[in-house]
Symmetry: C2
Subunit: 343 residues, 2 copies
DNA sequence: CTGTTAGCGCCTTCAC
DNA sequence: GTGAAGGCGCTAACAG
């Protein structure tokens, strides 16, 4: 049932029906009710595809995230979907796997297909070079970190500062040998690198030495990666007394490894995460972590994007969103006697 | 840059360009290379919106899930997105919150807007009546359970049987007082009800009595709901020696409540879940659960949907997908001496 | 094999 | 205030 069907039914022109549907222009009350009646009788719904073609706008955006198996991203998706709904936007999703080529591909393909008006991307794999060289067909807003000058809008938290805060918390508890799980070397670790930088800043500020042996790499941010990294740390001659995991999922893997090795948390080892996913409130022990304001990230990103979609051409913007430290069970003052009997 | 631009550039008609783009019809090799050159030079990408309008197909489907904060659903989304990509389909997502009115609304609005060719829905809130009365504008395939004859295709596992299996496992371990966390009464609990039925079947088959005191209700399937339900069970004069949670998230909440109350799992209480989300392999203890074949659910659902989109008009189909029992640390033979000293 | 052309359903500029 | 008509970019029936 099309606009024309309704027009015929009501004995008016398409124009008038369109006016009523879009509450556009002045329509006489009598005419309005007559058209509305026809609309109801025929149960008309506009064809959004046709509307999109005409207007050059689809009312949809794409949300490109690395991986739906990592709760941080799905929690972000949850917030984004909610806010998008409120703005009358539809959300199309895809996963990049954190791979640079897929990220680039999707921006290219999705953007140029005109299926969406804009793209929200959490880039994990892309080189900054690639990002800044982009000339996307639709506006793109980046979620997460931006290490260098880019041509795209961006929203995220202050990763360096947040990491410094949580590591400082560990130091304040009396920990001296704090390990960190870093991302692998390569383009994928922009965010990870910032968090490691925050870690080093905290050590330096406290006058603690930086021990490269306490930096262990994980290929990804999944639980098994954290488990493997932690196991590796436990083989050290002088194991750490605390570990900072730049993602909660890594921390959950670490907790499991510690449990398997009979190391109790927090008595023998403090564990800190990053992201504050819901699971962090239920793990055993519950996890001390940094809580980025995910809702705000989503909201700000959508606003930047809407703004660009409306044609704004101001220079790239950088929105910093809040975060806070959540102290839970997994971190506690260092025991005077470690499991090795060292003091 | 449109099809016509390319046609002009190559000095041919749009028809020919279209033929080349869609590798349709016979095009002479010479012409093909000429057009291809123009295509490349102008860096042409088809406008999918225009194509959709013309063809009446969008190449997109909607995936409507209750809640992205529940990992089972995001894992299902992950599988669906992956398979959809392989089939060349784009996925649009939205959350229903498990509310009937939102489920109906979304089917109505999304379906009739012609933005998608079909809908995948995991209905949690909808009455069967409402479901069977639906006349959706696009094909709808249901994920999860279907309790009565419906007019829609459906794919899911055998919930009754799976639940019976895992409860039978508990019984085999020597548990006598097995509790279950059920969904609240109302339309929302179709799946939950089936799982409780499986639980009762298992008890009956083993000749164990059914004790209504051991059935506790949870409003939703989130971790806090499981925690509250478990706490309630622990206040019983005669608490259970095992608990079956019809969703892993409930089980994680239960594990936390047990931990807080100083009840050790599995020594003093066995805990079983349902869904086998990734977290179940990392919780402390790891969780015994039922693993539905999520990948297969997604794949079958997409195939049913594609089939309907292609115009198939066979009667409603019901695809049953496999599952298996994963035995992990959270269940163990019942101790002869319980914490109350009862035998 | 290739060119011409009529819509897909909608919005909106122009006349009335 | 309302009607008629063009066109968004693409596909495919109809010629040639």
């Amino acid at each position: 049932v099309t606009l024309r069907d309704v027009a015929e039914r009501a004995g008016v022109s398409v124009r008038t029906v369109s006016n009523v549907v879009n509450s556009f222009h002045y329509v006489s009350p009598a005419m309005r009710t007559r058209v509305q009646a026809a609309l109801d009788e025929l149960d008309y719904k506009p064809n959004l595809i046709a509307r999109s073609l005409k207007q050059g706008r689809t009312g949809a955006i794409a949300l490109l995230l690395p991986d739906f198996l990592i709760p941080y991203f799905t929690e972000l998706a949850h917030e984004t979907i909610e806010h998008a709904n409120n703005l009358g936007l539809t959300v199309l999703v895809d996963e990049t796997g954190g791979q640079a080529n897929r990220e680039l591909d999707l921006i290219e393909v999705i953007g140029r297909s005109r299926q969406v008006d804009g793209i929200l991307l959490n880039p994990l794999g892309m080189h900054q070079r690639a990002l800044s060289g982009l000339r996307p067909a639709v506006p793109v807003v980046l979620l997460g970190e931006r290490t260098s000058r880019s041509t795209l809008d961006h929203v995220g938290i202050d990763n360096v500062r947040a990491s410094r805060e949580i590591v400082t918390h560990l130091i304040g508890l009396g920990h001296k040998r704090i390990a960190v799980i870093a991302g692998i070397k390569g383009p994928a670790d922009a965010t990870s690198r910032l968090r490691v930088r925050g870690y080093r800043n905290a050590l330096a500020a406290a006058g603690l030495p930086f021990d490269p042996n306490l930096v262990v790499e994980a290929p990804l941010w999944r639980r098994p990666d954290g488990m493997a990294a932690m196991s590796q740390l436990l083989t050290l001659k002088r194991p750490p007394d605390a570990v900072f995991c730049p993602a909660d999922t890594l921390a959950f893997g670490a907790l499991r490894a510690l449990h398997d090795h009979g190391v109790s948390v927090p008595e023998q080892m403090s564990v800190a995460g990053f992201d504050d996913v819901q699971e962090a409130q239920f793990s055993i022990p519950t996890l001390t972590t940094i809580a980025p304001d995910k809702s705000e990230i989503a909201l700000q990103a959508l606003q930047l994007l809407s703004d660009r979609i409306s044609g704004s051409i101001v220079p790239p913007r950088d929105v910093r969103v809040g975060h806070h430290l959540c102290i839970r069970q997994s971190t506690a003052p260092r025991q005077l006697i470690t499991r090795n009997g060292e003091s």
